[in-house]
Amino acid sequence: MATRFHLSLITPTALKFEGEVEIVIAPGAAGDLGVLANHAPLLTTLRAGIVTAGSANPAASDRVRFAVDRGFLQALADKAVILTDVAVAPEEVNGDEARGELRRAEDALAQKHGHDDGEERAAVAFARARLELIARPI
């Protein structure tokens, strides 16, 4: 069994998850990254996407998944902290709402024609992440 470390997933309105995990997989700025215990001190921005955490074994029952908006990940040897505006668990996703938001976000993105479209890209990615969360349960 791999060493466990402390993970907190925090939004301004709630402490969404707190517990001992073996691995965290998060959408880092430079691509998805997996964090294990004893990670070198790291501070990275996160893209909107899916955060997975729990036992190293993907089939383990204690794996949790969250769709997150853009945020930050801080990793230390014995703990990791994820900060994001919004994080939703699969059971909190409203499929119709997410589909509607995805459509609106995609329209908004198309309007921008590739200029200064960070917000819109993130909105699209966040809506997609939510839909993926309910489409593919653990």
């Binding site: 907190s8 925090i10 301004p12 309105t13 709630a14 001190p41 501070l43 990275t44 921005t45 801080q74």
Partner: protein, 287 residues
């Protein structure tokens, strides 16, 4: 001396007032609990983002326009008040604090959250950049809008500093107006560790320190505003709870006093009538 009817009308109107103040007291009491929970829920985020900011600034060479200290020629004052009154001295305390601040800083510009602040500071005749209602939109959205406005004005050089005046929720009994420098950002104080040495980690930044800073600083401003909104809101409910509790008690006391006077008056009338009847009967008997 008031007539019986006048007294009865006054007691009735007092009862109506008391009913209203009691309802407001109960509403405030119910909402304060929720506001306090929301405030508590925001604390882990505050700690975490503060720590990240410290780490970033500690790595040295942290440079960003939002950290830049300039000589202050124009100062921005961001005042948060409630939208509604009937909360004791809550709004006037905040407005007074801001008025005082406006005298201490050069060329004050006002940014107002909460309609009461707008009313109270109108007489100063200061340039008003923007105002928002406290309840006009959900707090996360409102915080984003306010942050965007003050950040833009700071970066464009319209103001060289932004000072936030809001209410700190100490307890249900105590709410205190506080001032915080919002811009330029100063890293929160390092919480001293038990072993006396500061935590120093050689952090790696992805994609690079500059990019992380550029993402984190606006978030920090936005969150600071968000937290101040929560505290101001909780303070408003607490102040109203106390004000309305007092009002309800005072109305009760007045009703009691007036009822006593009313009963005495009625009794006096009855006694007088009996005396008249008895007197009349006596007069008839003797004649």
């Amino acid at each position: 001396m008031a007539t019986l009817r006048q007294l009865r009308d006054r007691v009735r109107s007092l009862r109506n007032t008391q009913q209203i103040t009691r309802a407001m007291k109960m509403v405030a009491g119910a909402r304060i609990r929720r506001a306090e929970l929301a405030m508590r829920a925001a604390r882990p985020y505050a700690n975490a983002i503060g720590e990240m900011l410290r780490e970033l600034v500690a790595t040295g060479g942290a440079q960003h326009p939002l950290l830049e200290q300039r000589p202050v020629k124009n100062a921005g004052i961001l005042l948060m008040t409630a939208d509604k009154g009937l909360a004791g001295a809550f709004n006037s305390n905040l407005a007074r604090n801001a008025t005082q601040l406006a005298r201490e800083v050069p060329n004050p510009h006002l940014y107002l959250v909460g309609t009461k602040g707008r009313v109270q500071l109108r007489s100063l005749g200061l340039p008003r950049e923007s105002d928002w209602g406290l309840q006009s939109q959900p707090f996360p959205t409102l915080a984003k809008a306010v942050a965007a406005q003050v950040t833009e004005d700071f970066l464009s050089g319209k103001v060289d500093t932004v000072i936030l005046v809001s209410s700190r929720f100490v307890s249900t009994i105590v709410q205190r107006p506080t001032r915080v420098q919002l811009l330029p950002i100063t890293a929160p104080e390092q919480a001293s560790r038990a072993d006396g040495k500061a935590l120093r980690n050689a952090f790696e930044f992805e994609p690079d320190p500059k990019a992380v800073l550029a993402a984190l600083l606006p978030k920090y401003v936005e969150f600071t505003i968000f937290q101040a909104l929560l505290e101001t809101q909780a303070s408003e409910f607490a102040a109203r709870l106390i004000a309305m509790t007092n009002a309800t008690d005072n109305a009760g006391k007045l009703i009691d006093d007036l009822t006593l006077v009313m009963n005495k008056t009625r009794q006096a009338t009855i006694t007088k009538e009996i005396l008249e009847i008895v007197g009349g009967a006596e007069a008839l008997k003797t004649s």
